[in-house]
């Protein structure tokens, strides 16, 4: 074997591992995002007229735009060396963690559904029902500190889970397709929650008028912040970590999770093995939605203002990408949540330097695409075929 081919083998092996592929996918996503950023940037556009006479200008302007943009992302999401004091310098990373928490929770929930063969697009509806539950407890009940919070979290989880279970029930009982059912239930939940927020005696703020908005949650029900007033980050991130562990334990180690997976892969075999497939659908939807309910609690109980429908912040939808990127592994779902949490946290900083927030959405989609399409990224970069990933066709 020659020197060169030995080297090639090593390169081949490194490239073939999935870690490398993930990193490459992320880089590529940023690369294309950069192109997008440059195309419509004012400064760059200004140089187009002289593109052929002084192409250097365009290049420099483009380069600066990208550096500025992603620099701002890092500053907004990880560490801000320009902060006026230490507190401000470290704020970004706390914001990333804070934003990541609900994405992780909801991502876990959706991923669980996927593994049971349920394409639950009902994240939005489930979050919204969770918000309704948490809001009611947080604004309409008086309880001692801690207990109030726990009750509010449980209310969110139960409401979301019930909503999810109902979708599962409709599927199990009538054979209706869960995609239709969950889409419709999303709209219904949103309208229902708006109505509750609009109605006196339900959730409408005591001083409220015609605007659907609740009172702020009682202080006793809020998720405590970790650093007092210094940072907004609250114990939600720990709940997310706990949820990640719970998901792993449930799906990889427990018999319940095993049965969920069984139904997901082959409902016929599961039935023949004595599993009640229909009620498994209902339970799986409930558990899936329970995780999403945690995200709802996180949203409702960490926001000092009144609660509105928009607090669901499209998490139910973003979580689909998190779940897809994270695949089957709890760890990876958490990592995906962190990545997209960083995007959310960094977005304002990018806007400040004039980068449109939509670009991050595009980057996000591209990253998932590249990770989902190993052959695509291989074709683009002419990467070697990993031997271990041969597809087996039975």
């Amino acid at each position: 074997m020659t020197e060169k081919s030995k080297f090639q083998t090593v390169v081949r092996e490194i490239m073939a591992t999935s870690v490398t592929r993930v990193v490459l996918s992320i880089l590529l996503g940023f690369f294309f995002g950069g192109i997008f950023m440059v195309l419509f940037n004012e400064n760059v556009v200004a140089t187009y007229s002289t593109l052929f006479t002084t192409p250097g200008d365009t290049f420099v302007a483009a380069f600066n735009t990208i550096v500025d943009g992603y620099g701002a992302l890092l500053r907004g999401a990880i560490f801000n060396p320009e902060g006026r004091d230490l507190v401000a310098m470290f704020r970004p990373i706390t914001e990333t963690l804070r934003m990541a928490a609900p994405l992780v929770m909801a991502g876990l929930g959706l991923a669980l559904g996927f593994r049971v063969g349920l394409f639950n697009i009902g994240g939005t509806g489930q979050i919204v029902m969770g918000l309704a539950g948490a809001t009611w407890v947080a604004t309409r009940m008086e309880l001692p500190p801690v207990i109030h919070m726990i009750v509010a979290v449980i209310a969110a989880v139960v409401c979301a889970a019930a909503w999810g279970a109902f979708a599962g029930f409709l599927k199990a009982r009538t054979g209706a397709h869960e995609v239709i059912v969950t889409i419709m239930m999303n709209y219904i939940a949103l309208d229902f929650f708006t109505w509750m927020l609009r109605t006196k005696g339900l959730l409408l703020a005591a001083t409220g008028g015609g605007t659907p908005k609740s009172d702020p949650p009682a202080a006793t029900s809020m998720l405590p912040t970790l650093f007092g007033d210094m940072y907004k980050i609250h114990i939600g991130i720990f709940i997310a970590i706990a949820a990640t562990f719970a998901y792993w334990l449930l799906m990889e180690r427990s018999a319940i999770g095993y049965r969920f997976r069984m139904v997901g892969h082959n409902a016929n075999a599961a039935r023949a093995a004595g599993i009640k497939v229909e009620s498994t659908f209902v339970w799986a939807m409930a558990v899936s939605a329970a995780f999403i309910g945690l995200a709802a609690a996180n949203q409702a109980l960490s926001n000092p203002g009144g609660i509105t429908t928009s607090l669901n912040a499209d998490i139910g939808f973003d979580a689909i990408t998190v779940a897809l990127l994270g695949g089957n592994s709890a760890k990876r779902i958490a990592a995906a949540g962190l990545l997209f949490g960083a995007f959310k946290a960094g977005s304002p900083a990018m806007q400040v330097v004039g980068v449109s927030p939509e670009i991050l959405g595009v980057v996000q989609a591209l990253i998932v695409l590249f990770i989902a399409a190993p052959p695509l990224i291989k074709a683009m970069l002419r990467l070697p075929e990993p031997a271990a990933e041969q597809k087996v066709v039975a």
Binding site: I180, I188, D191, R198, G264, Q364, L376
Partner: protein, 423 residues
């Protein structure tokens, strides 16, 4: 592999014939008899069967609201009995019977809502048709794509692309036909991306769909705020096609204006639905397409190129969905608006399933939505007072009832969502 979506998640289990449909029908019949009939308002309701200022006008149909409800409720009762009898005989309740039942209930509802008022029947119908067209076309794209075995949940993205491109090209060239063409092409190109990622690169089809939606929303929002919003007069002021009334036909009472006084986008839809049906179910190409969607390996063994078949049908489906997008902008409101498809693509997705992957049923299901939209607007005007949020809910609740109560056994194309690979 990073991503694993359980195969077959898009197939659903079979349901045995059950009393469900009968029960739902009975519930609706009772609702009609009790709430609209006995508990209803005896005031006169006028069904206005021709639009004002029509040459061939038919006398308006005026009845007592509650009396009408009792009459219609009686008919509904008869259908309920027939359906129940069929179920007991282990026969399938035909779709058309359910449709007639639905129509009856709707007319009772209209009569109840407008007690003491006028029901502008053809106005409601025309609006329902126009509102349904983007959904029909989007769903038709979905049907085509799933019939060849590629799950398409990117309909939302395709509609949005079509709406955007149609408006921009229509404005820039000042030619709406070019707008429609460009919308079809743009959305077809998007579908080629979907198709090649799914077919060649074996990316999970659901994932690609989600991502395409995400990308299109991102890109159109970006372009809208950076470009269209600032230069609206030049790039986002296309106007709409003229309404073409077909002589004589458009004068037919009730359905004339709804079917024969429309913009070309609607007529395109009227042509495309039967055309797609014909292509899929009557031609050689269609037989092959469906074979590929049902059992790709079997199709391959008789020499059909699975990848190529899928690619071109998915592309064609994309073009049709793109026209649906054009129908949304230059076929209805004119200018493009941020995220103007507003979830219609997801409704279309539901409609594909509700319509059992069959063009005509899909159209009927889409009309249900179009109708629900105009219904909630009109109902709110004639009998205000129901909280707006509940009125907004109506179409979704109706769909939920329809899929759980009536849809019964749905069987997607067997290979839908499954990539095809061989040794």
């Amino acid at each position: 592999m990073a991503i694993e979506v359980t195969p077959g998640m898009f197939s659903s289990q079979q349901v045995k014939p059950s009393m469900k449909a009968g029960l739902v029908m009975a519930a609706f019949t009772l609702l009609t008899l009790i709430t609209f009939g006995f508990g209803g308002n005896p005031a006169i309701v006028t069904f206005q069967l021709t639009e004002k200022g029509h040459a061939l006008s038919v006398a308006d149909f005026a009845v007592s609201s509650s009396g009408f409800a009792l009459l219609v409720g009686g008919l509904m009762g008869v259908i309920t009995l027939v359906a129940t009898a069929l179920t007991i005989l282990k026969r399938v309740v035909p779709m058309w019977l359910s449709l007639i039942f639905g129509l009856l209930w709707v007319s009772a509802l209209l009569g109840w809502l407008a007690a003491g008022n006028v029901v502008p029947v053809s106005f409601i119908l025309s609006n329902a048709v126009v509102l349904a067209v983007p959904i029909i076309l989007g769903a038709l794209g979905g049907v085509i794509s799933e019939r060849v075995g590629v799950v398409n949940i990117a309909i939302e993205g395709q509609l949005l692309t079509g709406a955007f491109v149609a408006s921009v090209i229509g404005s820039v060239t000042d030619n709406l036909w070019l707008g429609v063409l460009a919308a079809a092409i743009a959305s077809a190109i998007l579908s080629m991306a979907l198709a090649s990622l799914a077919i060649k690169y074996l990316v999970d089809q659901i994932i690609i769909g989600v991502l395409i939606n995400l990308l299109v929303i991102g890109v159109t929002n970006f372009l809208y705020s950076q470009w269209l919003a600032n230069d609206g007069q030049n790039v986002n002021y296309p106007g709409t096609f003229d309404v073409l009334a077909i002589p004589y036909l458009s004068e037919i009472p009730i359905i004339g204006p709804a079917l024969f006084a429309n913009r070309v986008t609607v007529y395109l839809c009227f042509i495309l639905v039967p055309l797609v049906w014909f292509m899929l179910f009557r031609t050689k190409l269609g037989l092959r397409a469906r074979a590929v969607g049902e059992h790709p390996l079997a199709a391959d063994t008789v020499g059909i190129n699975v990848a190529r078949t899928r690619f071109w049908w998915v592309t064609a489906g994309g073009a049709i969905a793109g026209i649906g997008g054009a129908a949304l902008s230059i076929g209805n409101v004119g200018a493009f608006g941020r995220e103007m498809s507003g979830g219609l693509g997801f409704i279309a997705l539901a409609v594909v399933i509700l319509g059992r992957w069959q063009p005509f049923y899909v159209s009927a299901a889409a009309l249900l939505f179009g109708f629900a939209i105009i219904m909630r607007v009109w109902a709110n005007q004639v009998s205000p007072g129901i909280p707006t949020d509940f009125i907004t809910m109506v179409p979704y609740v109706v769909t939920l009832i329809a899929v759980t109560g009536f849809a019964g056994k749905v069987r997607p194309p067997a290979a839908s969502g499954e990539p095809y690979t061989k040794g």
